[in-house]
């Protein structure tokens, strides 16, 4: 349910949260642990583990496109919550798909 929206929504919020967290222990501690947080972030889980998707194939563009940002970049693990083994397969599949022109390369606007 929330899996679909997470990569897009967290790309803005999650990044800010990740950046803001380190200075928090100094000033934000008095706020009262979890209560002091502006928003509650629930733990992200790997889409491939929960939905038991084992085959990460370069031909499955619809699946891969969920993990590719608008710019064509691969979305990092810390934003999507994909586990390490699956991210490894995912990134290689995305690179193969780029090679055969199914997905755009990062950088240059298509």
């Amino acid at each position: 349910m929330a899996d679909e929206t997470r990569p897009t929504s967290s790309s803005s919020e999650g990044h800010g949260g990740g950046e803001r967290r380190p200075p928090r222990p100094g000033g934000g501690r008095e706020g009262g642990g979890p209560g002091g947080r502006k928003y509650f972030r629930r733990k992200k889980v790997c889409k491939f583990c929960t939905e038991k998707i084992e085959a990460i194939n370069y031909k499955d563009v619809r699946l891969l496109a969920q993990f590719v940002a608008e710019s064509g970049k691969i979305v990092p693990r810390r934003l999507t919550g994909v586990c390490t083994p699956h991210q490894r397969r995912l990134s290689s599949a995305i690179k193969q798909a780029r090679n055969i022109a199914l997905l755009p390369f990062a950088g240059r606007a298509a």
């Binding site: 085959a55 031909k59 193969q96 298509a110």
Partner: protein, 133 residues
């Protein structure tokens, strides 16, 4: 030692049916003549390319799965490289990945059989969160 490979290639969108068939048949004969075996061939149809390749925005995608040796892959790639209407290709070995998937599937099936027999009411409960998640 025969391995399974997958060869995806893109030909220019204005290529005629006859020329496509001719190209495919030459590839298939190349596979057979070097002791390989064609498993499947599929035309995936016209698709939009993610970026322009040789000034083309679309391409006809084809997928050929075959068994053979590494030398055969080299030969097919050489042919694709010299044939003018082919704009892009990608060959991949797929037997190891397939083996891995089969193994996982076998483990999963055996687990399902073991869990389905003693606890039938537990199964809908286990499936329900998977659907909502």
């Amino acid at each position: 030692m025969n391995r399974t490979y997958e060869l995806m290639f893109i030909v220019r969108p204005d290529m005629t049916e006859e020329d496509q068939d001719k190209l495919v048949s030459t590839l298939e004969t190349a596979v057979v003549s070097s002791g390989g075996k064609v498993k499947t061939f599929e035309k995936m149809g016209k698709r939009r390319l993610a970026y322009t390749v040789r000034r083309f925005h679309d391409g006809l995608f084809m997928l050929l799965t075959f068994e053979g040796s590494g030398g055969l892959v080299h030969e097919l790639e050489r042919r694709l490289r010299v044939s003018e209407p082919v704009i892009k290709f990608l060959s991949m070995r797929i037997d190891e990945e397939q083996k891995r998937l089969d193994k996982i599937k076998a483990i999963r099936d055996s687990k399902r059989k073991a869990s389905a027999a003693p606890a039938t009411p537990a199964e809908p409960a286990a499936e329900a969160p998977a659907v909502t998640a």
